[in-house]
Structures are given as C-alpha cells and as structure tokens.
C-alpha cells in the first residue's frame, strides 16, 4: 500500500494501528476529522516527508529508510526519540512493573520466583533510566549543539568550549544494550518458569514485554543507524569547515 501526503490521517491509522506510536511520539493531537496527512503535519509543524518515512517504515519493516532519515534534520529525530523515551519511562515500563508485581499474588508459582522477577525488573529499570538520562542530558544536547553550530545558530567558540572533550564515540563507549534484559525476561517467563494459574494475566504480561522488546529494537536501530552516523557526519563537516578557515 502506497502511503501519500494527501490521504486522510484517520485512514492511515486504519491501515496499520502501529503507526499510532509515530503519531504519539511526534505529539500530534487526535481528533483528525477528515484532514489529510499533509494538513495535520503542517498544523503541528512536522515535516511531512519525515512523518511519511517513519510511517512507511512501520508498514514495511524490511525497508528501513536509513539514508532518507539521515538527510532530515537532527532536531526532528532527537525530538522523536525524546518522546519515545518519555513514553517508555512514564508509561510502558511502570505498567510492566505493576504486572510483574501482580505475579506475586498468583497461585502456582514457586515461592520466590515472582519476587525474583520483581527484583530483576527493578534492576533493569535502574539501568534503563540511567541509560536514557545519559542520552537526554549529554548525547542529545551535544547533537543539537552540533547541528546549531553548523547552521550558524551557535557560536563556534561556545561549542568548542562546551564540548572540547566530547565526541559521539565517547557515547558509544558506554552505550549499553537495552533490549538484552527484556528478551532475557521473556525467555525466563516463557521457557523457564513453571506455568502459573492465571493464564490471562500472564499472557498479557508476555505480550507487553514482547512489544516493548520489539519497540526497543526499533529505537536502537534509529539511534545506532541514523542518529549516530548522522552525528559523525556532522562532526566531520564541522572539522572540514575549521580546516578551511
């Protein structure tokens, strides 16, 4: 199905509800009425091509628009990733935590196992939060500053002073893997725990974990295969500008 800017936003969602994630992360308000994708994007100050690239990707997984996304502005991507973080931290992760806590009330699980899961997940939340805070406080501001300096909105001297020691490779040095433990949790629940009594609750937990895991994979793909190469590209550009001067 070919998606285009003139189709109605509501129809786009009907085609694939997964794209709601893109809409949420770009902070597009609901109440679409009969408005087209183009109109709604313009009303909300969103570059329509950027929106379409993401939505197209959600509809056709094996066609990741790496180059197109890299040509877009760093600000767009950072904004998207920032709101994704927010949703993880304030919605998805707390929900899963609550559901794991509820496992403790389930009959059928051996004594300490629910407790073990809770501890495991809380440790994960700590790491997850630290990882995201590092990106929000260091990496994203750095990338935005790079972009501003290149477009002349930030003084070169200010940039140099602020980021004398920093580069995107520094970030990669301690960039930990966020999906790993989510998939570990999934394996433990699916393969290594004895079956619990309430199937419905347990199934729902597994589905949510799986969804988060897959979503984190997408998130990593955007960071590692678009944002970071883009940052490297901007670093290079800035360097070559300097040497010319």
């Amino acid at each position: 199905m070919r998606i285009h800017a003139n189709m109605k936003m509501a129809d786009l969602v009907h085609l694939n509800f997964e794209v709601l994630a893109v809409i949420q992360r770009l902070q597009i308000p609901f109440g679409f009425k009969d408005k087209s994708v183009q109109t709604i994007c313009e009303e909300n100050g969103i570059h329509v091509e950027f929106f379409l690239q993401l939505v197209q990707w959600f509809n056709e997984r094996e066609n990741f628009p790496q180059e197109q996304l890299m040509q877009g502005k760093a600000e767009w991507l950072v904004n998207y990733l920032h709101h994704t973080h927010h949703c993880y931290l304030h919605y998805q992760i707390p929900r899963i935590e609550k559901e794991i806590e509820d496992l403790e009330q389930l009959a059928g699980l051996p004594d300490q196992s629910a407790h073990l899961m809770v501890n495991f997940f809380r440790e994960y939340i700590r790491e997850f939060t630290a990882h995201i805070e590092d990106e929000e406080n260091n990496t994203f501001p750095y990338i935005l500053a790079l972009s501003k300096t290149l477009s002349g909105k930030m003084e070169r001297a200010t940039f140099n002073q602020r980021y004398e020691e920093y580069s995107i490779d520094k970030y990669l040095d301690h960039h930990s893997d966020l999906e790993e433990k989510i998939f570990d949790l999934q394996s433990i629940l699916l393969k290594h725990l004895p079956p619990p009594s309430n199937n419905c609750q347990f199934t729902n937990l597994l589905l949510e974990i799986n969804r988060l895991g897959n979503d984190l994979k997408d998130h990593t793909l955007l960071e590692e295969n678009v944002l970071i190469p883009k940052a490297r590209q901007m670093e290079k550009e800035l360097k070559s500008k300097t040497s010319k001067q």
Partner: protein, 191 residues
C-alpha cells in the same frame, strides 16, 4: 531458527532475497540494512547466523573490524553485482543468477547453518556448564572462574556462549534468576 542479516542497498534485491529466504521453514528473523553505516552495531546486537552482504557494502565498511565482529559460527554469502566467472565459489551470489541457482546456493548454506544449530540446541546444560553457570551467578569474572576451575579463559567464554544459547538468556542477572529458579544456587548466596 536461522537468523539472517541482509546488507544490500538495492530495494529490489532485498525484496527478491526476502522472497527466496521466506521459502525456507528454517529461516527465523531477518534483519535488513541498506548501507554499511552502523553495520558493526547491528551485527553485535543481532548475532546473525548468516550474513548476506553486497560486495560494495563489504568494501566500504572496514573489512577487518567486520570479520572481528561476526560470531565465529556465522556464515557469509556475498552478493556480486556482476556475472560470476565459471567455478566461482559457492558463497557468491550474482545478481544475474537464476532463481534455481540462487535457491541452491542459499539452501546449502541454510542447511549447514541449521544442522549446526540443531546439534547444539537439542542439548540440556551439561554438568560442567551448570558449574560455570553457578560461578557466573555468584558474580565471578571469567578470569576468576578460569583460575578456580583450572581452565583457560577461552574455555570459560565458550562455555558461557553455550549456556546463553541453550537458555536464551544473555545477561548475568538473567542467568542468576535462572540459577536460583533451578536450585543451582540459593537466594542467600547472592545477597
């Protein structure tokens, strides 16, 4: 299930390859990349069993770092953008190859990969692996384990890889949970 990473810039080729790959029931997850950018990171996360890579992508990424990143058991098929000479190696796929010839070459590789995986996957943890798992769960480093068990760190690492593959658990804390659930260590041992 065989995990495949396809690094190919042409949309049409990616589509065609997907079509062929999906015919094999052994094929599990397939990941795609359209350029060399970020390929090391994807390999590191995804741990493919088979990499199908266009020769032009292979040349633009640093060859040495690429092969260092690949898991030891990972097979590689190269996509060549020209007609192959006679007697070209079986791990080369030409974009001019017929479907039959492509399917043949891919089939052989997938068979080899999945046979290798099946042998490994059908096993339970060996007593030796359980012992290693116990030490891992107790928080020991590879070096400490090697010293305590009189084996090389290389052996420790290969045991750990096998454990992770069999249990589908990568992180130390995940392995610890497994060890407690299965009575390999006690809750009190770790606090």
């Amino acid at each position: 299930m065989v995990r495949i990473l396809v690094a190919e810039q042409s949309y049409l080729l990616r589509k065609g390859l997907t079509h062929i790959l999906r015919q094999f029931p052994e094929v599990g997850e397939i990941e795609f990349l359209g350029s060399h950018l970020g390929i090391e990171e994807v390999i590191h996360h995804f741990q493919p069993d088979l990499l199908i890579i266009n020769s032009s992508i292979a040349t633009s990424s640093n060859d040495k770092t690429l092969s260092k990143q690949l898991p030891d058991t990972c097979h590689v098929l190269h996509i060549i953008n020209t007609i192959l000479p006679q007697g070209a190696p079986d791990n080369q796929l030409s974009i001019y190859d017929s479907k039959v010839s492509l399917t043949d070459k891919i089939s052989n590789t997938i068979k080899a990969v999945s046979e290798h995986k099946n042998i490994e996957e059908s096993e339970e943890l060996t007593p030796r692996e359980k012992l290693i798992l116990k030490h891992v769960a107790l928080g020991q480093t590879n070096k400490e384990m090697a010293a305590a068990l009189f084996i090389s760190t290389h052996t420790v690492i290969s045991h750990r890889k096998n454990i992770t593959r069999k249990l589908d658990i990568k992180s130390v804390s995940g392995l610890t949970v497994y060890a407690i659930l299965n009575g390999i260590i006690n809750m009190e041992d770790i606090s």
